[in-house]
Symmetry: D2
Subunit: 362 residues, 4 copies
């Protein structure tokens, strides 16, 4: 379904980096859910460039809720959120059309769209398109919170520097929900920012790992085959530009473990069934087991770097040198965080409403 | 869509481990594709238990193509493949119902299905269900081969032992397609088997990492959002029991790289655009760039171990000790290999037919 | 999605008229629903040939529930129902391959499937495929009945003879549920049967109109756009071979009415909102209003007739004369009845579970 | 999928009658298709109110192509078309909230959306939402025309007055494409308009039948089960407000025919296989046979009438009298015409691209 994700609750993205506007539609949410515009703005702020370590393209991300909201509540019909594009400098891009930026989709877009693609600023591939996703995702994040389902993501690793592990999920999630640069350990945070700034000075960029926890997901959500929780969540996550790996619980680490180490023993915790460890990331057989969902995403270093690179001009069919100028992020790990939360929230709304009915979400 | 995967070409799985039969339907394949029953049998053989390091439950996996095949070719209508269940010992399981096997779906199935699940041998969660997937997947693997698209998977790592990297894709894939235990380096293979046997003696199990390459995928396949190549492939892979991580190209390794290391420089190779490195695993912006697809899956150690474990009896609501008896694999990494190939083949048939039309697959 | 219908609850059909077996999968039904095999057999009986007015191909339609049922209840996983083909006389068909039977899919199948179609007995286009639909549909019909939602279909018109209108829905539905030839008025029934027999003697066939009522559907089911109740139900109905028209409530008759005649006035009936008339067939704006759903299907006369017809041999590219021999029905209106009920039941299960959650169906 | 229709090519509608804007997204169209904005405006004009026989709410339907179009061509990414709402008089509606207008969705919306619906002017149920559908549908109509596939719809019947049959498809379609009131026979047209005016004077409304022909559809499009051409087209058509019946070819008339009358004999026409009659409406077994598609829709009389009606106030739980004031159409048959064309064009683009690949549409 191309630009649409989800069944009972679905999201559709549209727009190009330098077009009139970008936006998103979320459909399938039941009527009567409070739409908190301040929280939407807050989430969009978390996605916006941060200080010196981000692109100088600063947009306010003023959004319009064009449909589906009435007297501050969802009407049960599609909610279309639109964010006008401003501050676009298309001239930066057109002169380089044909020179495939390494790590970018210039060449694959050219092949797929036969040269009719809107190439300005990455067009429909731009990270800017995630603003729409974050905008409507905020409604999903917010309604889940009201159902006791909380999502938090921190930068587990960036530029080789590692953050602390989650310690107390509730306070960690609370802290992260307002953190512009979502790192638990202050020193780690400072070191990461310094490392990003240094990469920027070198005309280079850095990547990292995001780690997410979701608390409060009831046991029994997900499907054994094809619509497993891991399948649905990873489907959404791998749509986010720059994500190249997704793992749940112990993830790739499980390859070095024995079954006796990996298996999460069940126990009774005040009468509630929990597991002693959570190497399976809260998921057994594709279905939530009531423990927190835990997963990590690998975010590649921003491909836009000013260092000179070898590449091909696919229009003229010749090898060329390229230095990507323009306004770019030396790191997008911190900005991708809220996109991850948004995708996961939408995926969970979809699966929860499949099981319990869409009205359950109200 | 629960037990169905794919849009233009889709697969549906059905069956329980100890029911009458298991099977799969593949729909959307165009008419006129040769159905090679010997190759289906060959692929099913690769999935079957291997020597001492696998479960003693040995079934011949005799399959019936109940529909959609006429005079050895696809008719363009749904192909239903059925494999009768034989050699089932249900008595092994029923007596333990309620005692949640750690790492298994017993408990989540109980919650999801309110106690009406077929619990015998893992029921619909059993790895045995993958036989149907491999059966119909063989048709997809075979037709792609005829279109020049070849898939090969080796055990990159198992029980802490590492295989060689791919050296020559064509010969590696050729070698692996007939290898019962798909490791490139003979010594690594022997060491892995020994390690698995040792784990088995300890009543324990081991996990590993599968690495897959797909050559010959034309550039331009996949979508920027939500139906990215990574999204679709990971969606399928995470349905395979025991897979807890998926990464493309450099994957999680990208978090330690700079953009200048990660970016794959484009070059002209006899007039064809290729990349010098392949850290993006053949995918830019969710779309194939003509380079081989490369990805890895983390396979967790088999949760069925005979070592005593602590768990909960969810029927009686009490903590119990459990030693999983019965016939089990101390490792399923080698058996999961052909399941990975099958899922990827089906996913590619779906995406290719979306772009080029289903008739292109003939 | 080709051979699959439905989202939360979906059905997939497979099989060819003269293959090994035909069947269907229903997926998405929650666990714990009683599966009444006697009722499945009963519904299959209603679909089977009836007396002299049907094809002499008499099969017992012995069905196997291959998966998804455990101790007489659904397990929440796909239910695969298989009916072996017996009593096939393929020789009847192969000699005429290429001679397009007028009104049949021989020619369109040839074009679509490039000559690789299974042409024996209509292959995948055969009305026989509806047996699988009826088989799994019986589970849906039965569970809806237990939720107070009852479906009844009578032959409103056949061979120019008209049945009585529904008088008392409850007793009418009850009567029809056991009527092999579902006509309310005994005289009309006798006249229809005589007319069908006469058509058969002439080597000809007749068509008719089926009228269906569904009582007990709660208000609020369906969607304003694209997944309107009418859209979903008609989507299913138009898949049934021979159906060429579908209308709801006053249907085509509304074109001769004024708004003041067509509009159904709302009223309070012991505190419950009902409508005085039901020209909208229980649906306003695509959503059920709590009144009985009422719709009609036009069923064309069976295209297989022994009267000589002009046609084309698409293999040899020449005009030929054709008399369709073999075993055929001079009328299928009465047999299509239970197929209509099955499709509608599945469609309603899908929409109900979307709104209320799949667990609601238990 | 609620407000989305289609698989490979899909359309999503959003907006409410009195909200900020309404609009539609069409996704899945390949890159490089010319987007003719003048033709979009032309199609929107055909949907707009016509002379005295339509609502005085006159809006210019100025549309913005917010995304997916670059240098006048599709980019292959979602095309979002937005039409701002102007000239809204919400005060007309709010005072009557609770008084269910007979024939309208007020009551069903209230039940479905628990009172959170945007009730102003019918909200998301308003016929105005079809403007978005017509806007993006124009792109589909236009591209099909360039592939030799032409769609034409006339008012077969209105207020009891019958139009001529199609005589010459090519010239008829050509004529209709520019006819504001799409009737072939001038006298019939005048009589219909007079009848509509008379109904309006009486505070009443009239309905009618639209008849559509589609020429140039290649044989082989559609599926035997569930995605039959009839299924997909009717699914789309029944989403259009006011449509209560759909029939193909002889439609309901087939119930009075014998097989020997209904069957369309195949013949060779200059080497091309055609049928002598077209009682099957160009479709055999759910698949196009190369003949023109022919179908008819029943359009109910506009439910908004000023004549006093009995109804229920569902807020106060009492029976009330209601006279629907405000700006209304005494007939919408002529306005629905271009909506029918748009839906069918989108459905055909979807099915054609499924068979031939999306690139075929360029």
């Amino acid at each position: 379904m191309k630009n649409t994700f989800g069944n009972n609750v679905s999201v559709t993205l549209f727009g190009e980096s330098h077009g009139t506007a970008i936006g998103a539609i979320i459909d399938g949410l039941p009527a009567g859910i409070k739409v908190n515009e301040a929280f939407i703005a807050h989430q969009l702020d978390l996605r916006r460039p941060f200080g010196k370590i981000s692109t100088p393209r600063q947009e306010e991300d003023k959004f319009n809720l064009v449909s589906g909201v009435f007297y501050g509540k969802t009407t049960g019909t599609p909610i279309c959120l639109i964010i006008p594009n401003e501050n676009t400098k298309s001239g930066d891009y057109s002169k380089n059309y044909g020179k495939a930026r390494p790590g970018h989709a210039d060449y694959t877009a050219f092949v797929k769209y036969n040269g009719a693609e809107d190439y300005r600023g990455g067009g429909h591939f731009s990270g800017r398109i995630t603003a729409g996703l974050v905008g409507v995702g905020a409604i999903a994040v917010d309604l889940l919170k009201n159902k006791g389902i909380c999502i938090g993501t921190h930068i587990k690793k960036c530029a080789g520097i590692t953050d602390d592990d989650f310690s107390d999920y509730e306070s960690n999630i609370n802290f992260l929900s307002n953190a512009q640069f979502s790192v638990l350990n202050e020193d780690a945070k400072d070191n990461m920012i310094t490392a990003i700034e240094n990469a920027a000075k070198d005309g280079d960029s850095v990547g990292g790992i995001l780690e997410t926890v979701v608390t409060g997901v009831p046991a029994g959500v997900g499907e054994p085959w094809f619509d497993s929780l891991e399948s649905i969540i990873s489907h959404g996550l791998f749509s986010i530009p720059a994500i190249k790996g997704v793992e749940f619980g112990a993830g790739f680490g499980c390859s070095d473990m024995n079954g006796s180490q990996m298996n999460d023993h069940f126990q009774l915790d005040d009468g509630v069934i929990t597991t002693k460890t959570n190497n399976n990331g809260g998921i057994n057989g594709g279905i939530s087991n009531g423990m927190p969902l835990v997963f990590r995403c690998a975010v590649k270093p921003t491909p836009s770097i000013s260092k000179e690179q070898n590449t091909v001009d696919f229009i003229n069919g010749e090898e060329v040198k390229l230095s990507v100028t323009g306004r770019h992020d030396p790191c997008i790990v911190h900005r991708a965080r809220v996109v991850v939360d948004s995708v996961v929230a939408i995926a969970l709304c979809d699966l929860l409403s499949q099981k319990f009915g869409t009205d359950w979400l109200v």
